[in-house]
Symmetry: C2
Subunit: 414 residues, 2 copies
């Protein structure tokens, strides 16, 4: 056996960031390996939400826009989030969704490279990235989307795709299925050397590791995964300061206007990052995110990354040890440096296997066609959880629990 | 005197919808005439929000997407809202903001009228409408925005602007400053007779009167004004069933995909109204809106409209009676049929006057350059409130409270 449960418990005792687990609400009897999809709530969430509803909305009504700082929430929240992606104040705003942020970033990038008509997209990205680019390119007309193929080596793929026709490249730092992690500095440099602009999607990396966007042109990402901002919490967009004076995106709402309360007939972009806001922020949805950022202010991302690599490596070792006979195939990189904070295994009967696992309290998720996906949020997942998850997976496979009629039935109707 | 305070109190006793006031939280000592900007919270808001945070998010974690119905919130909330704008189920989705909804509606309309290259916009609309159209038209290229001028008679303006080049017309049912209200049926018929598509912005009408969008092509609006959905609550978009099979907007996110969990490389729009969703809904921001819709299910909009007309007419009468010497000019239509649920007066010193009024507990708002704006949310504003607001305004003007140094100072720094 690779390691005993007792040894895992000892690792938990020595874990330098173990105390953060107490700051989250986690259900009893559940090993929650889906924090890469929806993070767990900070314990302070209800207090933050109550304050927004009772003190701010009920207490001040429309006065909340100024007195409670609602109007500037996209900027103040962006400034708090900025250190998590390695950038400074005045470079990030929070609002809308990652999908909408992609439209802002790509439309701004195209405006900065007016003579280039190719957008490089990656079929390994979460599909909405490609879909948003597709909708934008179709509407604008005259653009070509050049797709990197799924599974291709990124270096080789970029060699074939980059040219002086390419305006921008949109890639995910961490692959949503395999967890494969790109070297953002190297890729950014290479893309920029070709004259194109680099846009990173950080949905599966922000909050799971140190991220350094200081040389990237744009970055977008959600806040409800590792960042624990709550279901549908607003997304973020980063714009490098060198572009802020010239970058103009197409979603030109009144909050991005230079003088929003002058009610001028035409649009004039605000100075700085504010022009990347659109309109009335979803105030209530910022409250849990700001509660989570109260925690993140105290987190050492290097320690998060070290624990993340240890957790995922341990899970791979244990699953391969416990489950060797049962036909699971690791689809994540074996080198922890090349991996995000998640591990994927493929299995032809992945869906009923995941159902059976969830029924036993181990929550991962399934991604079509055959991927069992497990996320390890370092702030609240323990080494003993990793041991128990692997052991439960082995039990499900060994006893063929997933062949129970009910899992097969669920498969048939899904 | 037009009417006595005692007579106003008697009107309140006889008000058939007076009981709804008890369902809202309103601060003591405040007459809140800004419900047309941000509605007051229903008393059930905290319970609804607590349920979402504690039972759904903390209790079910990622399971909330299916078990708690988060995934379908845009559709289920849309179906609940639909009767308030005179349409049926499967015709409305709730999400994002009015500004984003305008991009969806206008881009879809342009796709339905590919040979027409003019968009009619109205400079009397809230500016973000025009700004979003401007950003869209600039990005797409080859489109002309034809602006109706502020203050122009709409019939005459449309005569000059409509032609067989016009793809769509975007108008607000109720003017955000003056409260002037358009006859949507007549305007819609006229626009459609020219071959163009009609898009209504209902921000200042939904929840204040009966609205009938059953013949309109598209409608958009926010939910945080008369509808009391909370600060930054998600917006809505209505798409007439006759367009749903063909209308394709440009914000093609994965929630609008025909098979969002198949993770296909290319975008295929979902059938029906679901294609007008974009991506992960801001779950928490739907909770107060659904609490408000629990109230709206029991509201007779004809009674709301009758009370609204009575409140606004009373306010005009009282202000003109009490404040005759002080240079206020009514900018709202005098005919209640042609008015929404708000009243505007212009005054060259409107800003410090409004500050002084707010300091005395009467909350209206100021819109540049010189408009004092008062909204009357019929569910919670009383006839006695109208009397007291007018009397307080007269006191401020009579005693020249607004000439106090502090109001002038605030003006200087704003």
């Amino acid at each position: 056996m690779a390691i005993s449960r007792a040894e895992c418990l000892a690792l938990d005792v020595d874990d330098p960031i173990k105390h953060f687990r107490d700051e989250f609400v986690l259900p009893d009897g559940t090993i929650y390996l889906v924090g890469n999809s929806l993070g767990a709530p900070p314990r302070t969430t209800m207090a933050a939400v109550t304050r927004t509803v009772e003190e701010e909305w009920a207490g001040r009504l429309v006065g909340g826009w100024n007195v409670s700082g609602w109007y500037d929430l996209p900027l103040t929240t962006g400034d708090r989030l900025a250190p998590l992606i390695g950038v400074g104040p005045g470079q990030v705003v929070v609002g809308e969704s990652t999908s909408i942020a992609i439209v802002k970033a790509v439309s701004a990038a195209l405006g900065l490279r007016p003579d280039r008509r190719v957008i490089i997209s990656d079929l390994a990205s979460f599909p909405t990235d490609r879909y948003m680019v597709e909708g934008l390119a179709k509407a604008l007309g005259g653009y070509e989307i050049r797709d990197l193929r799924d599974g291709e080596d990124l270096g080789e793929a970029l060699s074939g795709a980059l040219s002086d026709e390419v305006a921008c490249v949109l890639l995910s730092q961490v692959d949503y299925r395999t967890g494969a992690r790109h070297d953002t500095a190297a890729v950014t440099a290479r893309v920029q050397a070709s004259g194109a602009l680099m846009i990173w999607d950080l949905c599966h990396s922000a909050g799971a590791m140190q991220v350094d966007m200081s040389e990237a042109d744009f970055a977008v990402g959600c806040t409800y995964k590792y960042l624990n901002g709550g279901p549908g919490a607003p997304a973020f967009i980063y714009v490098h300061p060198r572009h802020q004076a010239e970058a103009e995106h197409m979603l030109t709402g009144w909050h991005g206007h230079a003088a929003p309360f002058a009610f001028e007939p035409g649009f004039r972009p605000a100075d700085g990052i504010r022009r990347f806001t659109v309109s009335t922020p979803h105030v209530l949805s910022y409250a849990p995110l700001n509660a989570a950022l109260d925690i993140w202010e105290r987190v050492d991302l290097a320690a998060v990354r070290a624990k993340s690599m240890a957790l995922t490596s341990l899970f791979i070792d244990l699953v391969e040890d416990f489950c060797a006979p049962y036909g699971l195939t690791l689809i994540s990189p074996r080198d922890p440096e090349r991996r995000g904070s998640q591990v994927g295994f493929s299995h032809p009967e992945g869906y009923p296997i995941m159902r059976a696992l969830i029924d036993r309290g181990v929550h991962g998720d399934f991604r079509a066609p055959d991927v069992l996906r497990f996320g390890f949020a370092p702030l609240y997942i323990r080494f003993a959880d990793v041991y128990d998850a692997a052991a439960t997976l082995a039990e499900v496979l060994e006893k063929e629990h997933w062949r129970d009629e009910r899992y097969q039935q669920r498969l048939a109707v899904t």
